[in-house]
């Protein structure tokens, strides 16, 4: 993991797509490329792409999840966001 990663994911905080990350949509979800650390990350569901792109518009990750993710998938999505924070695809706002 990147040495700059400091805090663990907290769904109560506001997040956003990292400004150095570009996302390419694919049928399975999408590819996220970080121009800073040159890492490629796979987003494994189209819903996750939609969520990550919308994060910046919500007061907290939880609010974004509640709007974009059906309930049974929320724990898995929170784990995915935690991984995406660690690889700097998303960051705290």
């Amino acid at each position: 993991m990147s040495p700059t990663t400091t805090a663990a994911f907290d769904a109560g905080l506001p997040y956003e797509l990292h400004p150095q990350v570009a996302i390419r949509p694919e049928a399975f979800g999408g590819l996220a490329y970080h121009y800073g650390n040159r890492r490629l990350t796979f987003l494994k569901a189209p819903m996750l792409v939609e969520l990550v792109e919308a994060l910046g518009e919500y007061p907290s990750a939880r609010a974004a999840i509640d709007t974009h993710v059906p309930e049974p998938r929320r724990p898995a999505v929170e784990r995915a966001l935690s991984g995406l924070l660690a690889s700097e695809v998303i960051r705290v706002r």
Partner: protein, 394 residues
Amino acid sequence: MSADPALPAPARPSSLTDRFSRGLQAPICLTWELTYGCNLACVHCLSSSGRRDPRELTPAEARGVVDELHDLQVFYVNIGGGEPMIRPDFFDLISYAVDRGVGVKFSTNGTMLTRERAATLAGMDYVDVQISIDGADAATNDDVRGRGAFRAARQAMDNLAEAGFGPFKISIVVTRHNVAQLDAFERLAESYGAQLRLTRLRPSGRGADTWEELHPTQEQQRTLYHWLLDRPNVLTGDSFFHLSALGEPLEGLNLCGAGRVVCLIDPVGDVYACPFVLHEEFRAGSVRDAGGFTRVWRESELFTELREPQSAGACASCGSYDACRGGCMASKFFTGLPLDGPDPECVHGHGEAALEQLKLQPVVVPHPGPGHSKTRKPTAATREPVFLTLSRRG
């Protein structure tokens, strides 16, 4: 590509791996060879490079390719050759790419990487440099890459370090003669703060004629596997996935990405399924065709075919098939093995057995031909215009 929590466990057949097998909107990993010109003549050159081809893409056409990659959201391109720095528009082109958000990783033999050029590169964002060597000392390296090649590569590394380029990559094709030097390569990389990259030797290009004597033995493959397993940070470009049949999977996607997640654009704009299959059979089209690269990637007959479910063939009954998925298509093709059977370097020895079978009869083994090599040995291959040669193997 890095290990990532958003990735599934490697090698286990997952819906994501299956999706990748069925192709993507654009490649994840695109190799673009800018020129067939090269001032070295490595005996294993995958593209048989030497002379420039008069039909190579013009500077304007090359910028057109960059524009397309930008539109396709191809985030970075792996540039090679030949020696890409031979192209007079090399720096213009990589600056153009970077400015359009297409990152550049380029491979070079280092001979043209002067102090001035190292300083220029150090000032550019989104450019990665990969210096190729094939031995940890001049003797081992120069046997493969030619006299003076080691010293030139080390000079290039010194120049990058002096210019403050940052962590460049040192790239090695693993052969029978350098497997014993893995630790020495690691120390060399560490001494520069560089990243080590190991890739697999394929019987492609001039490698078709040297593969038998250069490819690692079974015992060396096992050594390599354990060495890599202990060092997940060593880059491999996913090239050793056939070794995952030895047990725990190696880092990476562990699938043959040809035409599915990877492809090659050659110096004249032809698009091939991967960098190791420069042969008419795996040519999908050209960036010069109507619709350009995008259409070749999305609609070509060859790529469409490669994205259909593949038969495991003779490997179907093997318990390791899910781990290695039959191995490398290019390695099978250029050793004359069926594509739906074992890799010639199958860790269970099924490939060696299949090659033994081939020896029993004269068989047509596809040959990459002389390509753009400067010196043509008078072999059957160079006399044969369709690049097929009758081989009695061994």
